[in-house]
């Protein structure tokens, strides 16, 4: 159904300066506006960089667990660009492996939270009633705990492993997703176009799925760019506490834990994973800020 718009796209995009009379796909206009924001571009670059690192890095850097007893706590060198840790393992390889773990934890926990939270929020906001009230008190209950405290509790119950960390982070994230989606649904369900769809005989599911949900994608995109770095930080924190990824597997949190003991001898050991955590979360936050501004409907035109 978008064919007509897509066909019109290239000719309009070829002449971005002129007032384009042809309909331009909305995502293309959004992208163009995003690219005009320096900070958002910087954020996107950081995110893409770490994504690349996570995807192809491990293929290049070699083993992240091979011990090297001849070069413990070595500084940066040609063979080990970021040096080695207390067991002689290559820090760059471990940072790269950690990127994979971090992004996986952030993205998958956020995706899980959305998959569970969005339908719940839609149904709660659309039908209201006692089920909505019960659900809202439940979210209040979870939200009354700080995010990390709740995740730590969940992870402690589930046992330490990357899978359980992801589940714990997702569960901790669900209530805020439900709240946001419910709130947006309450606003959108009273819009004229929703009423019009009902008047055209649309079923409840169709109204929620086609009329309400697509009109909150902006909110959800922004929510995701906040939830992903929160998940990354959460994974690092849980792994740091020993509730997450278990050594010898690398994770930025695990690396920080072991670096802690050698802070005076080799402070760089803590700096690299710390910087990696800071940069990825910064990247997502900048990108999210930019997207929030660009997707704001009041910014149209």
């Amino acid at each position: 159904m978008n064919n007509a718009a897509l066909e019109n796209g290239p000719s309009a995009a070829a002449d971005p300066g002129a007032a384009a009379p042809e309909p331009v796909p909305q995502w293309r206009r959004t992208l163009r506006r995003l690219l005009r924001r320096r900070m958002a571009v910087a954020g996107a670059v950081l995110v893409l960089l770490f994504l690349l690192l996570a995807l192809v890095g491990p293929l290049v850097t070699g083993s992240q667990t091979r011990l090297g007893l001849t070069h413990l706590l070595a500084g940066p060198s040609g063979a080990h660009p970021l040096g080695t840790d207390d067991l002689g393992r290559d820090v760059l390889a471990r940072i790269t492996g950690g990127a994979r773990v971090s992004l996986l934890a952030g993205v998958v926990s956020t995706a899980l939270a959305l998959v569970v939270g969005v339908p719940l929020g839609l149904a709660a906001g659309y039908y209201r009633g006692w089920a909505d009230s019960v659900l809202m008190r439940l979210t209040d209950l979870v939200l009354s705990f700080p995010y990390l405290v709740f995740a730590v509790g969940m992870a402690a119950i589930l046992g330490p492993s990357l899978r359980n960390v992801i589940i714990a982070l997702a569960v901790a994230e669900v209530p805020s997703v439900v709240r946001i989606v419910r709130g947006e649904t309450l606003v959108l369900r009273s819009q004229d176009f929703v009423e019009a769809a009902v008047a055209d005989g649309a079923r409840d599911a169709a109204v929620m799925w086609r009329e309400i949900l697509p009109n909150m994608t902006n909110t959800l995109i922004v929510k995701a760019t906040v939830a992903i770095p929160a998940g990354i930080l959460g994974e690092a924190a849980l792994s740091f506490l020993g509730l997450g990824v278990q050594p010898p597997q690398a994770s930025w949190g695990v690396m920080l834990t072991s670096a802690q003991q050698f802070l005076s001898q080799d402070p760089l050991l803590a700096v690299f994973p710390g910087v990696a955590i800071a940069l990825t979360t910064l990247g997502f936050n900048l990108l999210g800020d930019g997207l929030r501004d660009v997707l704001d409907p009041r910014e149209l035109l």
Binding site: N3, N8, Q191, F193, V198, A199, D200, A206, N215
Partner: protein, 329 residues
């Protein structure tokens, strides 16, 4: 031939201050291809009456009484599931606000197609062709390309045409148009009214037109129901309402029209109806218009006047003890 028969329709809203009767014993019928106008001031119950027909009122807050027969089927007794099949297929609605009645997330072609997919077994390709046909029908130029436009790329008049295209997509028997031209420029209004009239000619769609604009009524309606405070006070063929208005309220509405006032001697000042619409919460056994009526007598506040035939036959009904044409004082 009667298509839609509304009898004794009552709409009650539950509010914190108790029940509010938005429509009281409204009865009218609609024939195939007929355009019926529901006229009255804001809050007189025209929208409540019209929205009760396809049962679009929030049923947690409004109750509907009386009977609505569409082609012999009692709509008030249908299950919600069956009712959904009626909506958009047999009865569809065009809302007042074209600017906000389209989903901003999808192209207009897709939104029109949605109704077709829902109610017909057309294939994807057939749907696409039909959408273009429909846009052509309602006078959207360059329909094939416009089908790929998003609502914000269209003007108000174009959007209202799209809304109408959506409404008539499945060839409904009844089209309910709730103030379809109120939000539009005067020049665009005429175009939209033409579309509605054409649809009646081409598809035989019966139309219930809700409006407070008597100019619109004169232009397109066959018959008029004048409503006041939830009741219909006058009901007649359009020409009769303008030539021989019977109810003092109708006469008041006509006198408030600039063109009419000019005809009556070029007086500068328009005549307004004194007072305000009474609260619909009250339903005394009296003429609700009596407090604002120049002809009111003791009789008017003693008992409610029934809707009876007025002079001239031709189905002209009026609910008044002192009906009759204007008596200039």
């Amino acid at each position: 031939m009667t298509l839609l028969e509304v009898s004794g329709l009552r709409v009650t809203y539950r509010t914190e201050d108790g029940p509010v009767l938005a429509a009281k014993d409204v009865s009218f019928s609609l024939g195939r291809g007929e355009i019926l106008a529901l006229v009255g001031e804001s809050g007189c119950g025209k929208t409540a009456t019209a929205m009760a027909i396809p049962r679009l009122l929030d049923d947690t807050r409004a109750t509907i009484g009386g009977s609505v027969l569409l082609d012999g089927v009692e709509l008030t007794a249908l299950s919600e599931r069956r009712m959904r099949d009626v909506r958009g297929k047999d009865i569809s609605v065009v809302f007042q606000e074209p600017m906000t009645s389209l989903n901003p997330a999808f192209t207009v072609g897709r939104q029109i197609g949605e109704v077709l997919r829902q109610h017909t077994g057309l294939t994807r390709r057939q749907v696409r062709e039909r959408v273009v046909e429909l846009l052509d029908l309602v006078g959207v130029p360059d329909a094939r390309r416009r089908a790929g436009s998003y609502p914000h790329e269209l003007s108000g008049g174009m959007r209202q045409r799209v809304m109408i295209a959506t409404a008539v997509a499945c060839d409904p028997k009844v089209l309910i148009a709730d103030e379809p031209t109120t939000a539009l420029d005067v020049t665009i209004q005429a175009g939209v009214l033409d579309v509605i009239r054409d649809l009646r000619e081409q598809l035989g769609t019966a139309v219930i037109l809700i409006t407070h604009d008597l100019g619109v009524v004169a232009e397109v309606a066959d018959r008029v129901v004048v409503m006041y405070s939830g009741r219909h006070v006058e009901h007649s063929p359009t020409a009769a309402v303008f030539d021989r208005p019977q109810h003092p309220y109708t006469i008041g509405l006509l006198d408030a029209l600039p063109a009419r006032a000019a005809l009556r001697g070029g007086r500068r000042r328009l005549t307004e109806i004194p007072g305000l619409v009474p609260s619909p919460a009250t339903d005394p056994d009296a003429c609700q218009f009596a407090p604002r009526c120049p002809r009111a007598t003791a009789e008017c506040t003693a008992a409610r006047p029934a809707l009876t035939g007025a002079d001239g036959g031709d189905g002209h009904l009026v609910a008044c003890y002192h009906p009759g044409p204007r008596r200039d004082a």
